[in-house]
């Protein structure tokens, strides 16, 4: 530009951050987690992530064409949905079910509301909630991490024919001859047998679980990087984690043999991934600074309550969906007072 002074009307933004840029950065932050998932669970995890992302992109393209809005795939947000969905599913999840989850998530959770910016809830979690209700057995079938030959062969259930029951993995797992493999995630072991697996394992990902939720440490690093890049509101993950830890603390102090410790609560299950990458969904979270803190604390404590007292082992998915649902209400409660007015009522 060769003009000397550029005069503009307000707002005077220092830099223009496009939706596309934000989304690309988030994808970038998710890549190490995906890479670790593939390293951990092998080819099956790779195919799973490719399926969810591919179907999510196709669904977005299909609905944007149907609605005549032009192609909205290029804003990258649907790639995040696909990747996140893949990361929350068990590594041996049948691909056809993963495709159903991705389609339902994008179609029902996003496209029907009008696309990006209009969705009430996190699309990836909508998809996961649907398959959780539709295929409750398949979504709780776990396979061991670091299986020998995981880059040469697939987990048998991955390539199940569409509409058929997943191929049983029992004999395959038994063939691996792993010591101490019980098929249960640390959360389930804690809930039903009240034994806390070693924390370092949960932190570094040496456990059973969904493809991308096992290493709390890696997720934490990626999330922190994203927050440092100012691509997410750090208040949300921090308050989610604080809410979870604070809710778990009194129970643990009262009866440590029965209830999990706050550290265990933070590092186990999908809480870390959900706090950094799902609760912080820009569209579905409240817009005020005070609101996001309330929203985060609410999700965190609801997660722990569902985990401790609900029928489900992991509660973070429903906690976030409920959090998304009350998000607008929190936003309207926490509207800042208009400068110069005396009470909130005067806003009308």
């Amino acid at each position: 530009m060769d003009k000397g002074i550029e005069i503009r009307t307000s707002p005077h933004l220092k830099r223009v951050v496009s939706v596309e840029k934000i989304m690309r950065t988030v994808v970038l932050a998710l890549l190490p987690i995906c890479a670790f998932a593939v390293y951990q669970f092998g080819l099956s995890a790779l195919l799973l992530l490719a399926t969810t992302t591919g179907v999510a992109i196709w669904t977005e393209w299909f609905f944007s064409r149907l609605s005549g809005k032009g192609n909205t795939v290029s804003d990258w947000s649907v790639v995040i949905t696909g990747l996140l969905l893949g990361l929350t599913l068990p590594p041996g999840f049948p691909l056809w079910m993963a495709a159903v989850a991705a389609f339902v998530g994008v179609a029902l959770g996003k496209a029907l509301f009008g696309g990006l910016g209009y969705n009430v809830m996190n699309p990836a979690l909508v998809g996961r909630a649907f398959v959780q209700a539709a295929f409750p057995v398949a979504i709780t079938t776990w396979t061991p991490a670091f299986a020998p030959g995981r880059f040469a062969e697939l987990i048998p259930s991955t390539l199940t024919l569409p509409f058929m029951q997943p191929i049983p993995v029992d004999t395959w797992v038994a063939g691996l001859q792993l010591d101490g493999w019980s098929g249960a995630t640390p959360l389930a072991i804690q809930k039903f047998q009240h034994i806390e697996p070693p924390l370092t394992d949960a932190f570094t990902g040496m456990i059973a679980g969904s493809a991308g939720e096992t290493s709390a440490l890696l997720i934490l690093i990626c999330g922190l990087w994203l927050a440092w890049q100012r691509m997410l509101d750090w208040r949300i993950p921090v308050s989610v984690l604080a809410g979870a830890a604070l809710t778990a603390l009194p129970f643990w102090l009262a009866d440590a043999s029965h209830y999990p410790s706050p550290w265990f609560v933070l590092s186990s299950g999908g809480l870390m991934l959900a706090a950094w990458f799902m609760a912080s969904d820009m569209v579905a979270s409240p817009v005020t600074a005070r609101g996001v803190v309330i929203y985060g604390l609410f999700i965190g404590s609801l997660t722990v309550i569902i985990r401790l007292f609900g029928g489900l082992v992991e509660g973070v998915m429903y906690a976030i969906l409920i959090g998304n649902a009350v998000g607008p209400l929190i936003s309207s409660w926490t509207q800042p007072r208009v400068y110069g007015t005396s009470s909130r009522k005067s806003q009308g």
């Binding site: 409750p136 057995v137 709780t140 039903f192 029928g311």
Partner: protein, 228 residues
Amino acid sequence: MNLEAQIQTPQPRTPAWAMLRTLGGIAMISGLLVALVYQFTLPIIAENQRVLTEQAVFRVLPGAVGKRDFVITADGALSPAGEGVDGALVYGAYDQDGGLVGVAITGSALGYAGPVNVMFAYDPECACITASKVLQSNETPGFGDKLDFDPAFLKNFEALDARLNDGGDALANEIVTVKHGTKTQSWEIDGISGATISSKAMGRAANNAAQRAVPAIARDLAVLTQQN
């Protein structure tokens, strides 16, 4: 409709007797219809009920061809069901020669989604429960409905210990559902993993049924085996 029109044609007042006549008339027609249908369907419904119970009894007690109803009276005795006796029903099942095959007893307990009503077959000879059939439940399909289909779970009820204690007024060992894979005693039920609440309800239902019926059956076995 404008104002003038309204004034020109005022609404005629409906006399009270017309309203009374209409409501009364309709109530009478209604009462007549309901009474007629009730009279007509009553025997059919009773027959349906009987067939349904009989089917359930014959299913839990294979080999039975006849069924007689008994009632556990307030003082813990067993008497043939009939007019004027009420209490919990038990069903004696008989083979062709009139010999007692077993007794069908029912119990209910609160499950995951409302009550679970179950019929159990009780064999006085081995003092154990030999079969089960869920009569009614709203348990989640895919989880709770395993109670009636899961072969491993049904195996629990092939010889479930229901011995009486020395006093003869309660079971020697309460029937309980234990966590999947931890069954050690013959009075324990191995739960279904993933359907813990439903399988626990089933255990409580079995316990309720046995605690109530077994002492009475043991006391008045003669009433049951008596040929008629």
